[in-house]
Assembly symmetry: C2
Homo-oligomer: 269 residues x 2
Amino acid sequence: MEIYESLRTNDMPFLRSAIRESRYQGHTAGLALGFLQANLVILPETYALDFMRFCQRNPKPCPLVGVSETGNPFMTTLGHDLDIRCDIPSYFVYRDGAVVQEIDNIKDLWRDDFVSFALGCSFTFENALTQAGIPIWHLVHNKTVPMYRSSIKTREAGPFGGEMVVTLRAVDADQVDEVVSISKRFPMAHGGPVHIGDPSDIGINDIRQPDWGDSPPPLEGKTAMFWACGVTPQNAIMRAKLPISISHAPGNMLITDIDDQAEVPVLAF
Amino acid sequence: MEIYESLRTNDMPFLRSAIRESRYQGHTAGLALGFLQANLVILPETYALDFMRFCQRNPKPCPLVGVSETGNPFMTTLGHDLDIRCDIPSYFVYRDGAVVQEIDNIKDLWRDDFVSFALGCSFTFENALTQAGIPIWHLVHNKTVPMYRSSIKTREAGPFGGEMVVTLRAVDADQVDEVVSISKRFPMAHGGPVHIGDPSDIGINDIRQPDWGDSPPPLEGKTAMFWACGVTPQNAIMRAKLPISISHAPGNMLITDIDDQAEVPVLAF
């Protein structure tokens, strides 16, 4: 944890070099506060148009904040020197629909036909909720947000489809309206909730048993709120059984140079 | 104008059949109030990935609200029965960078490799401004919004690039903050302004001589505000000199079934 604490800084060159040189592997929550963090998906170009359509049709789970040139590992609209092959703490490699490897850089796997996609993540609106004085259980207790495969169907595009993965945040009933209003201000970070109330309405039968992340405490006295989750595209990619694709390891996000309050996720020239 | 007045309705089947059967050709401002209207771009699939990248990198001029399957003329995420070949009052056909034809349907031109893109338009935030009691000169006087080719560069993607086209709306100085705030609420309708104040800062040397649309009145006592314009992608397409592409004729927008206050531009199942 010593290295994690030293990285709780906005000194981006320092932070990026620690990640690039593999001195830090781990989650990026709490790092580079004020900068946009993103989910990563890398695919061969032959799947890129359908994947972009999938993101456009499912903007809540898949808010597209950046797309690279084909074969170019630098994402120039998101960072001044952002090398997608090594600027994420840890990567998952998928082959034929399964995770086959976790790795700290993908330089040996890079191909001239790869296209990289960055998708917004919930850190942005969670920071805004915290600043508004609304306590978020998993942040307060240093846990991972509970994630569930819901019965909400995504809109298909080519080989991509399947159920939407959702995250849970439970709040006091009198905070629901404010939480909706704050999260809607961040369309690039999943926007407003996709469901409020009874988990079984969206196919979640045991709230204590998430499919990913930590088990939440009992919900008594709280209102359950569910947001579209950035794991949805990974689920869609596994389901599509692509010969190869790459994502960030869960929680090990791409840290961009974009102000997380920026109206659009594109660096000024 | 008689037919236009009869179409000022929210009876979508009536409105759509009048357009589909070519009984109405003309601008769609003021029609189907409360429904999202959109700019249209149709391209061969070979250019589609780069065009989507161009839109992602330039979300203010090119807010992507829908993308079709390749070769499928129905845009199912935007309408229950929306045939892109005939549901726009009038189309422009471009070949090698120039407009060569204006036509009321494109059934004879349709190709199996065409991909259709719908991009949000300013009607949405103009309606919101009007409802907030802020007078917009070109609406009050039944004119076309003045448009200018600015010196603001777009972010390139493949063959697409060039200058951003902007629209002008001039308001009283004490309304500027409210106008910014209202327009920012509509990221799918060009969002907040790209410039406020001296037109020459963005390369506009004679405000009385717009490149498209009507000449505005003198700006004395008003503050000039400029927004990214949906003509920008047409400018980029002409500049790219594609062998063929198709757009709506200016002002003759695609009328969708999407509520223009919807958080995301995707029909519920």
